[in-house]
């Protein structure tokens, strides 16, 4: 009888609650998936909140582990919320990334079109004896922008979208400046010929 009582007490004291490991692993995997989707870059604040929530859950897991009478039902509920948050954060990151990509593509197209126009303007600008050196400088500028656009493509291919966006914006600024310069020179040239 004494033995039975001792075993019962031992069982009660060691408790029978187990941490929801499968749910914890699933939540961690969902957070990793969000990070892989670029959540830490494109929706950094949401991702930080997600990480904080998971840390809070981990603290609750250990708090229950420290108790004699463990109860993980609240932790399981929290894990459902974290999982949902992770899925939403991943979706947000993917949307933002797609938006950045679209913006880059639009700018790339814009720069390419300005470059085409600039190359066309170069053929109309004073040339030969008339303005060859100035045109050489402009051509070198155009080739610099073309190189920059190539670098943008590499950055996009490597998923470095934010630096790619900076670069393509700078390239556009430069291409527009050359376009203005060429148009001014051509206008001046045309005026002097009249």
């Amino acid at each position: 009888m004494l033995v039975v009582t001792a075993v019962c007490i031992a069982v009660v004291f060691s408790s029978c609650g187990k941490a929801p490991q499968a749910e914890i692993d699933a939540a961690n995997a969902a957070i990793e998936a969000a990070k892989a989707a670029g959540a830490d870059v494109y929706v950094a604040e949401d991702f930080a909140a997600l990480q904080d929530s998971m840390n809070a859950v981990n603290e609750n897991v250990e708090a229950q582990n420290a108790k004699l009478f463990k109860n993980f039902s609240k932790v399981t509920e929290q894990l459902v919320v974290v999982n949902q948050m992770a899925v939403e954060t991943q979706a947000k990151a993917e949307t933002r990334k797609a938006e950045v990509k679209l913006e880059i593509e639009a700018l790339q197209a814009e720069v390419s079109s300005i470059l085409l126009e600039n190359n066309d303007l170069v053929t109309k600008a004073p040339k030969g004896k008339e303005g060859a050196a100035a045109l050489e400088a402009i051509k070198s500028d155009i080739s610099l922008i073309e190189t920059s656009v190539g670098e943008v493509a590499t950055l996009v291919a490597n998923d470095n979208l934010i630096p790619a966006l900076d670069k393509v914006k700078a390239a556009k600024e430069k291409a527009v400046a050359i376009n203005t310069e060429l148009n001014e020179v051509i206008a001046k040239y045309a005026k002097s010929r009249r």
Partner: protein
């Protein structure tokens, strides 16, 4: 028998009560995990992260995070022990240290963000000035392609820095600024050294400029061309009576040394012919007596000392002609004016008019 059994039950009940009481006391005495400290540490880390400590105070921030992780690992380890044997003092220590470090990281990051932002803003402004200086002083100079490329690359990097700055990514902006600074500074220095080398002739230009005014004092018209200012000025009685904008040879910076160098010569010349109609394809033209004796002497010396190739020719047919006004230096070494200005100049001067061409009438100190 019944009495014995009853006694036995009383014994069991007694033991059970004692055990439960002991258990209750043990529970009350069991050490409590430092949940409050851990929560504070987590909140401090969160605040640090919001302050961008990961970017601007990475080492302190990572230390804080590692301390928090160590606290959690230690807590988990303590939980595996028998509850009365648990010791959470280290967990508490790690958590408190993590809080302190996270607070340090946040404060350091706020300071760094402010600092970096101000550095970037200053750097952008300073580089902007240097770009403007280049555009004002060097852009119109016939510089080498590598100098131009360097300057353009620098400008592109500066544009990237501005974009990163506007997006609040100061650290990236700072990196772009550093790259831009290297390129812009180098191109400016290279251009400056070329300009300074050319200005070594300034004393001669000053003398020639004074000579032009002196020659005009007897009522004679004298043409004075300031290459750097791109001005063609007609003097009479020591006063400028007309002034025209001029376009020069592609490589106008520097004296003409030989045929094909596309440089506009520097020195004292004369108008030898006035050409118009079928005699010129540049509307109207004033042919100069390039090469003069000085040019011939210098050319011969250059050939002799090997600074000019043996097959080099001295060139000729340097004129002041029309078809200018393109806004660029485009000639093979001639001086081009707009047709309208050429007509005016053509009417003003005669064959024999002195034409004095100088690099600059202003000293270098006034150009900067």
């Amino acid at each position: 028998m019944g009495k014995k059994r009853r006694k036995q039950y009383w014994w069991i009940l007694g033991v059970l009560i004692v055990l439960l009481a002991a258990g209750g006391v043990a529970i009350l005495l069991a050490p409590e995990p430092p949940r409050h400290e851990l929560r504070l540490a987590r909140e401090a880390l969160n605040t640090a992260q919001k302050a961008q400590a990961e970017v601007y105070a990475p080492s302190v921030y990572n230390e804080a995070r590692q301390l928090y992780d160590s606290a959690m690992v230690n807590w988990s380890r303590q939980n595996e022990r028998f509850f009365l044997n648990r010791d959470f003092s280290q967990v508490q220590q790690f958590a408190m240290l993590s809080s302190e470090k996270a607070a340090d990281a946040a404060a350091h990051s706020v300071h760094q963000v402010k600092n970096t932002n101000s550095q970037v803003k200053n750097s952008i402004a300073e580089l902007g000035k240097q770009v403007l200086h280049y555009e004002r002083v060097y852009k119109k100079l016939p510089l080498s392609r590598s100098v131009i490329n360097e300057h353009n690359k620098g400008k592109m990097k500066l544009a990237e820095a501005k974009i990163a700055d506007e997006s609040g990514r100061y650290k990236e902006a700072k990196t772009h600024c550093q790259q831009a600074e290297k390129l812009i500074k180098s191109s400016n220095e290279r251009a400056e050294s070329l300009l300074k080398a050319w200005f070594a002739h300034y004393p001669q230009w000053k003398k020639d400029g004074a000579e032009a005014i002196r020659l005009s004092k007897g009522g004679k018209k004298v043409i004075l061309v300031d290459k750097l200012a791109h001005q063609c000025v007609v003097y009479q009685n020591g006063k400028a009576i007309r002034q025209f904008e001029a376009e020069l040879g592609i490589n106008w910076m520097g004296d003409k040394r030989r045929k094909g160098d596309k440089a506009t010569p520097e020195g004292i010349y004369r108008v030898t012919q006035k050409k118009e109609g079928a005699r010129t394809k540049f509307h109207r033209a004033l042919l100069l007596d390039y090469p003069n004796d000085n040019d011939k002497r210098r050319f011969a010396a250059g050939k002799k000392n090997g600074s000019l190739p043996a097959g080099a020719a001295i060139g000729g047919l340097i004129e002041i002609h029309g078809h200018g006004g393109k806004g660029v230096d485009w000639t093979d070494g001639c001086i081009a004016l707009t047709n309208e200005n050429m007509d005016a100049l053509f009417r003003l001067v005669a064959v024999g008019t002195p034409v004095i061409i100088v690099g600059s009438l202003k000293p270098l100190s006034e150009i900067y």
